[in-house]
């Protein structure tokens, strides 16, 4: 009974999501004649695919040793470091770019050090810069996902492996590799699709029009050429690429189930010797790579933090409200879809992946056209932003919840049934305790992402509805770069505080 209700509501939700994503394309006048690409569009497509692939593979490749080191070592500041891993991902793009430039730019810390040592300069502008920035944003996210995979292997399995005299290589083959096959394709998919729609990072760090992505072509079509069908066509292309990547990732994913454990956290054994040194280096390098640009953001923003104009605080309050509402909406939807996906169906995962490829400009413009006949768009600025933020953050929440929901189902479903637990008791005693860690992490990420998102509010907001990211942009537009840096720091601090609070809640309530 409960299963049926769950499936039905998940199906309704998935249908609503598809409608939300595709109706704007129709509103823009999507037509299927002339689906061929021009030379410039083909070049943009090639660059888009190439940088997204590199970014995904490098992010995931680097995440594995870092996550393993974090899973098996205990050290002072480990908790802080794991929380900080969420920070790059939630930085507003322009803030992150300026932070990266303070470290890796022409006048940055790295080049000053290289210059002092008489070494040649490193130039960030080009494909390497685009990939570097995307790895900065996404590698920490991948670390968290893989780390979660390691923590999901029951401690009993590692103990059993130890008592059977497994070498580290045996452990890798029998326990860790299956887990990686279950987690990595999904993580790589998410990062690949995020990078598909990159625009400001790709252009600014790519060093010029060589680094044109499809999203920029959409921007141009919508803003300068007012060619709505072209924008819709390119947005559809992004969805098609996303769906193809999804199918590929699904084929590569091995379902893993280690069976139920007693839910004790233990992590893999921590081998000594040279492996200890390798782990230390991995953690130190990743820590520096993440912390230095963040430090630059803090240093830029600190001086003006004391005298921020009052509008900044009002906008901050509005942003917090939007983030709270988006989070509640998004987490409910993600949990529903994850529980439905755990029963072995494919469509919830696809529905929860497509929003990644949505161009927020296309989404916003399409919704504007759809709503305008009935209502003043500016009166809906905040509700629309809540819904769009929730939809755009759904893929992350889903990815974080899905693996654990799946093992929860396969490990405990039969037991719960045989005990005749009511759905409510099941939610209270089985689902929530098991899922609270990923729920907290997902909620934190969604809240922080909703704080930082700008794409849609800019299309709808009038004077009175400005959120904090929009205000940062307005300050920059008015030459107030320092005040903008301080407002951006406030944004980052608030986003991070939200993220941290949810994440801590999840970790505290994790499996009693």
């Amino acid at each position: 009974m409960a299963d049926r209700a769950l499936s039905l509501s998940a199906a309704g939700l998935a249908a609503a999501l598809f409608a939300l994503l595709l109706a704007p394309l129709v509103a823009l006048g999507l037509s299927f004649d002339g689906l061929t690409l021009g030379a410039a569009e083909a070049a943009a497509l090639r660059f888009t695919l190439w940088q997204a692939m590199l970014s995904a593979l490098i992010s995931v490749g680097l995440a594995v040793p870092v996550a393993r080191a974090l899973a098996r070592r205990r050290f002072r500041g480990r908790g802080v470091l794991i929380s900080t891993l969420g920070a790059p991902f939630i930085l507003p793009v322009i803030v992150a770019v300026l932070g990266l430039l303070a470290v890796f730019g022409r006048a940055g810390w790295v080049n000053s050090s290289l210059g002092a040592l008489g070494l040649p300069e490193f130039t960030i502008y080009g494909l390497q810069g685009v990939v570097l920035a995307h790895v900065f944003f996404n590698m920490p996210l991948a670390v968290r996902m893989v780390l979660q995979g390691w923590q999901a292997i029951p401690a009993e399995r590692f103990r059993l492996a130890q008592s059977l005299g497994f070498s580290p290589a045996d452990t890798l083959r029998h326990l860790e590799w299956p887990m990686l096959r279950a987690v990595l394709p999904g993580a790589a998919l998410v990062i690949f699709v995020i990078c598909l729609t990159s625009f400001a990072v790709a252009l600014t760090l790519g060093g010029g029009p060589r680094a044109t992505t499809i999203e920029l072509a959409i921007y141009q079509a919508l803003r300068f050429d007012f060619d709505l069908p072209t924008a819709a066509r390119l947005a559809l292309l992004q969805f098609a690429l996303c769906a193809a990547a999804y199918l590929l990732a699904t084929r590569l994913t091995l379902p893993s189930s280690f069976g139920a454990g007693q839910g004790r956290a233990g992590g893999p054994p921590a081998p000594g010797g040279w492996r200890r040194g390798v782990d230390a280096v991995a953690i130190a390098l990743a820590g520096l790579f993440i912390a230095l640009p963040l430090l630059a953001v803090v240093l830029a923003g600190l001086p003006g933090l004391g005298d921020l104009p009052v509008q900044v605080w009002q906008a901050a309050g509005r942003s917090l409200a939007v983030a709270g509402a988006s989070t509640a909406l998004c987490i409910s939807a993600a949990l529903l879809l994850a529980l439905a996906a755990a029963r072995g169906r494919g469509w919830p995962a696809l529905a929860a992946t497509l929003p990644l490829a949505a161009s927020s400009l296309v989404l916003g413009t399409g919704l504007f056209l759809l709503l305008q006949p009935y209502v003043r768009p500016s009166s809906l600025a905040l509700p629309v932003t809540v819904v769009i933020n929730a939809a755009l953050a759904l893929p992350f929440a889903f990815r974080i919840l899905a693996p654990e929901a799946r093992s929860l189902y396969s490990d405990y479903n039969r037991l719960s049934r045989s005990l005749g637990m009511t759905p409510w008791a099941r939610a209270r005693w089985v689902v929530l305790p098991r899922l609270s860690r990923p729920l907290g992490f997902a909620a934190g990420l969604v809240a922080a992402l909703s704080m930082g998102d700008l794409g849609v509010i800019a299309l709808f907001a009038g004077e009175a509805e400005a959120t904090l990211p929009l205000l940062v942009q307005r300050l920059m537009g008015a030459y107030r770069m320092e005040t903008a840096a301080s407002a951006a720091l406030l944004l980052v601090a608030l986003s991070f505080a939200l993220f941290w609070a949810f994440d801590q809640w999840g970790r505290r309530h994790a499996a009693i």
Binding site: R223, L369, P373, V375
Partner: protein, 328 residues
Amino acid sequence: MNRLFPAAALALLTTAAQAQTPVLNVLTYDSFTSEWGPGPAIETAFEAVCACDLVFSAVGDGAELLARVQLEGAKSEASVVLGLDTNLTAQAAATGLFAPHGQTGGNDLPVPFDDPIFLPYDWGYFAFVYDNTKLATPPTSFEALAASDLKIVIQDPRSSTPGLGLLLWVKAAYGDRAPEIWAALADNILTVTPGWSEAYGMFTAGEADMVLSYTTSPAYHLIAEEDAGKSAAAFDEGHYMQVEVAGKLAAAPQPELADQFLAFMATDAFQSVIPTTNWMYPAHMPEAGLPEGFAQMITPAKALLLSADEAQAARKNALDEWLTALSR
């Protein structure tokens, strides 16, 4: 329908409650109406004379503004659109959504400017801004810039109005030689940003030697920050102008108020706010003249400006040349 859209009903009610005070809706770009832009002071001044409620609604920038006008079409609540520049007005006029302004009385632009549909409210010259404490002798032309090893940040003409302005600057100054100039500049271009803010932010962070902005940008640093360290480089070819204009929508819900607002644009109450909020030159010189500090700005030897039709005609070709030169 209203059961489906309670917000629509709510909006109708609010409109009815305010019916005694007519509302003039002006669609503009974001930095015009922000707390630090001209919007708030102009709103106060106009409401003191119009017995109306002036409401600005804002979108990102000039290019987005035109897209928004086209999106809203004849259903727009706005009566006036403020903030297009002359590189976009031909396209704007072609939509047929604008009505002639009917205003007489000229303007103080350095070049003759008379358009039946669009009225200028401010203007400026594009220029490369640099830090005069680091760069003692700035280049004096595009060719000198190309021969130097200075690094510049520019904006993408596909997403930004200053970026489009630069494209037409090179075209107006060099005509058929434009591709050659772009090819020579390629190694000076550190990077291309989506909009003005990112580029200017990178420049003030010390990442680039020069940034494409306006001859009046140093006035902001001088007046608001008391920092004389920024200057604009004067180029011998002349400087391309940006003329910012407003127009009345043909389907304006408040045509009389729109006319009143367009006439108000030429008065001191509007114009005297422009220099230190929009950091541009007023289209009608206020009686009190320009604020102190503007006198130190460079005056280009030659003002370049393509007419709206020329700009429209040159754009596609110039963009292809730019892409070809910089994509190599």
